[in-house]
């Protein structure tokens, strides 16, 4: 999704492994926005996203000596960020319910102004459903990978995605005429 570039990446990473603060900062500058974007799309608040941004780069700076370049540096940083974001969701799980549950409130949903923008609709999904939609449909993680990160089954991830899309379809007024 994001076109990021780290000029002279191999040399920068090699210097970062030795603890060079300039190289570590270059990595931060190259990937801070996509990390923040991923975090903010998954979590509800800017505060959570900023915390995840800091936690992610703290981990990245400390463990970059373990990164040997077998995959893209962004893939590695993203796995740290998504893991942190999901950890944050687990911590905040008391809020993990849809704000508008169609099954429980059909009368309200029928009369509700259905057409809302996509960002608002995403924000109304449960934390888990929103995370699955973002990680699968945007970041390109497989259900296997999402299940692994969440500590759940593949079918859990699939059903969360299907349920989320059904809700988005309704909330966005995209249902097919009967």
């Amino acid at each position: 999704m994001h076109a990021m570039s780290l000029p002279d990446a191999d040399a920068v990473i090699a210097r970062a492994r030795l603890g060079d603060p300039v190289a570590l900062e270059a990595i931060y500058r190259a990937y801070a926005t996509p990390v923040y974007n991923l975090s903010r799309r998954i979590c509800r608040t800017t505060e959570d996203a900023e915390d995840i941004l800091q936690e992610t780069f703290f981990e990245v700076c400390r463990s970059i000596r373990n990164y040997r370049g077998d995959g893209s540096i962004w893939g590695w940083i993203r796995s740290v960020a998504s893991s942190k974001a999901l950890m944050r969701l687990r911590r905040n799980k008391y809020r993990d319910t849809d704000e508008l549950n169609d099954d429980l409130a059909p009368a309200r949903s029928a009369s509700y102004a259905l057409r809302m923008d996509l960002e608002s609709a995403m924000a109304r999904l449960s934390d888990t459903a929103r995370a699955v939609v973002w990680l699968h449909d945007v970041e390109g993680y497989t259900h296997d990978e999402i299940a692994g990160q969440m500590g759940k089954t593949v079918s859990f991830s699939k059903s969360q995605l299907a349920r989320a899309h059904s809700r988005l379809r309704t909330w966005l007024g995209e249902e097919a005429p009967a």
Partner: protein, 201 residues
């Protein structure tokens, strides 16, 4: 099949996921059902719109805070490494020289302590031989390694504090700390050797 495709089936079609049950029959229905074709098209469009959402940028620069935390963590680790060497040396001296001067029950305890220290040193050597800095590990494993290293650093801090304390701590406490360290070192070696990303933390 006359029923329209479920969202699960539409997603399976979109993602070419052949593990979805009933998808073969669903495909037959799909080829002739304009409603399901429209549903799939809307699903594609919704996904494209999600991917096209503008990236959100952080309002604050977190790097100064990250850099400060890294600096503090390095200083703490260096101090702990220096102190742990002293603690281990002090323990060995106590064990080797002082064993005849203490009570027989204390001799047993010191033998246990010596065993734990030796075991911890053996695991450190094993880890050095493995040379993790030269190995490739994935992001999840790296996180587990960091968690274990953090816990070991915490323990080293406690051991160093005990070694530097003016008041000698009971030897049982020291044995307990070293036993915990051996357990964590075992887990760390295990993670590096097997790339396991779940060690029951």
């Amino acid at each position: 099949m006359t029923a329209h495709l479920t969202m699960e089936q539409l997603l399976a079609l979109r993602d070419d996921d052949r593990s979805e049950p009933g998808l073969a029959a669903g495909r037959d229905h799909f080829t002739t059902c304009r409603r399901c074709q429209s549903e799939l098209e809307r699903l594609h469009q919704r996904t494209a719109r999600l991917r096209a959402l503008p990236p959100l940028a952080p309002a604050t620069d977190e790097f100064p805070a990250v850099h400060q935390r890294i600096t503090v963590a390095r200083q703490r680790r260096d101090r702990a490494a220096a102190s742990i060497g002293l603690a281990a040396a002090a323990t060995l001296v106590l064990t080797l020289i002082g064993r005849d001067l203490v009570h027989p029950r204390r001799l047993d305890a010191e033998q246990m302590l010596q065993n734990e220290v030796s075991q911890s040193q053996r695991l450190e050597q094993e880890l050095r031989r493995w040379n993790p800095a030269e190995r490739v590990i994935d992001g999840y494993t790296a996180i587990v390694v960091i968690q274990l290293e953090n816990k070991i650093a915490e323990l080293d801090g406690q051991l160093a504090a005990a070694a530097n304390s003016k008041h000698a701590a009971p030897i049982e406490n020291e044995i307990k700390l070293w036993q915990q360290r051996v357990g964590l070192m075992n887990a760390l070696v295990e993670v590096h050797l097997t790339k396991a990303n779940n060690v029951g933390l």
